[in-house]
């Protein structure tokens, strides 16, 4: 049932400022000059595509929207060609607005604290090394498809207590939801249904035999009144953890390796000073932020002086905010020891990514283990680098050759 087809094409863009399209090939390939053009035009731009959609282009405008839950709802969080009906408990808490958001979020926070992530770290190192063992002798690899992709999916499978060997199944669902689903509702619904059926079976198993994993954790959770969560809430949160946990970090690890393959000076510095890796990870997160969330305008308001009308979606581009030269000097340069870096790669406000501590740990471990085993690598000129489309940005094909360039 593997489906790796690409979504249908949209008409080409001729005017980025008034007709932008974040699924256009030029944007997918290299969005940075486009964001600069949009930012120069206005702090908030609009397109008629996607049934009407705004995009804040500055850090300040992104911050204003992220902190304004009165005018901007999270009931829809992906900009698509269609607006499927809103379902309750779609993926709490990311799809929740106040006041139901807070208890749903607090439920998920304790398993993802930095201390909890430290306990997971040895498992992550083992996974990274197992993956490297699988291809190092070949002298080359698609680092997106055979390394970056499997690190987060195996981490979240491990935490959820579902087989890591089902990874390809999960990856296919995510592709259908986050990429094909932008333009094809049937793909989206099919993946959501299959995923729900999968988790229902695991819940069923745990009713008689509870485990110590996240599925049992959610099944055992109680609200303020001491009541268990509705089944739809448990399923929604499980879907969220799987969806949010995979291609986000896959993309961040892939982009980081892509940068290091093309920038030997940064690579050599990180090998010489491994203590710098956590700081470099922050800069790589800033420069190549993978995730663009969305909001729906539910009440007319203004953002950075620009009027926005209800019924439109908002492409809440944390990646574009992180390239705003007003906030980050030399915003277009990767400065791997950048000291001041209040980047928004994990969002701002109440929807800050629950898995940010997990993602950071995975990125650090993935880079540390890779650089230890494969200190020299470069892009393979024989193969193309391709990038994902839409909600999450990262390399999907990343062909490398190992060893020093001749």
């Amino acid at each position: 049932m593997s489906d790796v087809s690409q979504p249908a094409a949209h008409p080409p863009v001729t005017d980025w400022v008034h007709d932008f399209d974040h699924t256009a090939p030029q944007w997918t390939e290299d969005p940075f000059p486009i964001w600069d053009e949009l930012r120069a035009a206005s702090p908030v731009v609009h397109t008629e595509r996607f049934l009407g959609c705004y995009m804040p282009t500055t850090y300040e405008a992104v911050r204003e929207i992220a902190n304004d839950t009165e005018h901007f709802s999270s009931r829809r969080i992906i900009v698509r060609d269609v607006r499927p009906e809103v379902t309750r408990n779609a993926a709490p808490p990311i799809t929740s607005d106040p006041p139901v958001h807070k208890p749903a979020k607090q439920l998920l926070l304790p398993p993802f604290t930095p201390d909890a992530m430290k306990k997971l770290e040895p498992r992550m190192r083992a996974i990274c090394n197992e993956l490297i063992d699988g291809f190092i002798a070949e002298g080359k690899v698609d680092a997106a498809a055979r390394y970056a992709k499997y690190i987060p999916v195996r981490a979240i499978a491990h935490m959820l207590g579902i087989p890591e060997s089902d990874s390809d199944l999960f990856i296919n669902w995510i592709h259908m939801i986050l990429e094909l689903g932008i333009k094809d509702e049937s793909k989206l619904l099919q993946a959501v249904q299959e995923m729900s059926a999968y988790f229902r079976a695991h819940i069923e198993e745990r009713t008689s035999k509870p485990t110590g994993d996240l599925i049992s954790y959610l099944m055992n959770a109680r609200d303020k009144e001491g009541q268990p969560l509705e089944e739809s809430h448990v399923l929604g949160s499980l879907r969220l953890l799987l969806i949010a946990g995979i291609d986000t970090t896959w993309s961040a690890i892939g982009s980081s390796l892509w940068h290091l393959a093309r920038t030997p000076a940064d690579r050599e510095r990180l090998i010489a000073e491994p203590g710098l890796i956590p700081i470099a990870v922050e800069e790589l997160l800033r420069a190549y932020s993978p995730v663009t969330m969305a909001r729906e305008v539910v009440k007319e308001t203004t953002i950075s002086g620009c009027p926005v009308k209800a019924g439109n979606m908002v492409l809440l581009s944390f990646p574009a905010a992180n390239r705003d030269p007003k906030v980050f000097p030399d915003a277009d340069k990767v400065v791997i020891d950048r000291r001041e870096n209040r980047h928004a790669a994990f969002g701002l406000g109440i929807h800050r990514c629950v898995g940010s501590n997990l993602a950071r740990m995975e990125m650090q471990v993935a880079l540390e283990e890779w650089l230890k085993r494969i200190p020299d690598f470069r892009l393979d000129p024989a193969g193309p680098v391709t990038w994902s489309q839409g909600t999450v940005r990262g390399p999907r094909q990343l062909p490398f050759l190992f060893g020093k360039a001749m």
Partner: protein, 69 residues
């Protein structure tokens, strides 16, 4: 007379990015949800001033105050 620094996390602004704890583990603590608060009374021991400013300038929510006393 040397100035003394004190850090304070605004609990209404903190969203648990945990950057302060990573950059200045001596000055901040996290609760069970991963949200930050200043360690003890927030007084910055001599030698850690730089870390206090670093934590402030890396908080995405601008939730950290460094007070010069």
């Amino acid at each position: 007379m040397t100035e003394r620094l004190r850090v304070h996390v605004d609990p209404d602004k903190c969203q648990g990015h945990a950057r302060c704890k990573a950059l200045a583990p001596e000055l901040f603590e996290l609760d069970e949800y991963g949200n930050a608060h200043e360690a003890g009374d927030g007084i910055v021991p001599p030698g850690l001033e730089d870390k206090a400013w670093l934590a402030k300038s890396n908080c995405p929510e601008i939730a950290i105050e460094v007070i010069e006393e």
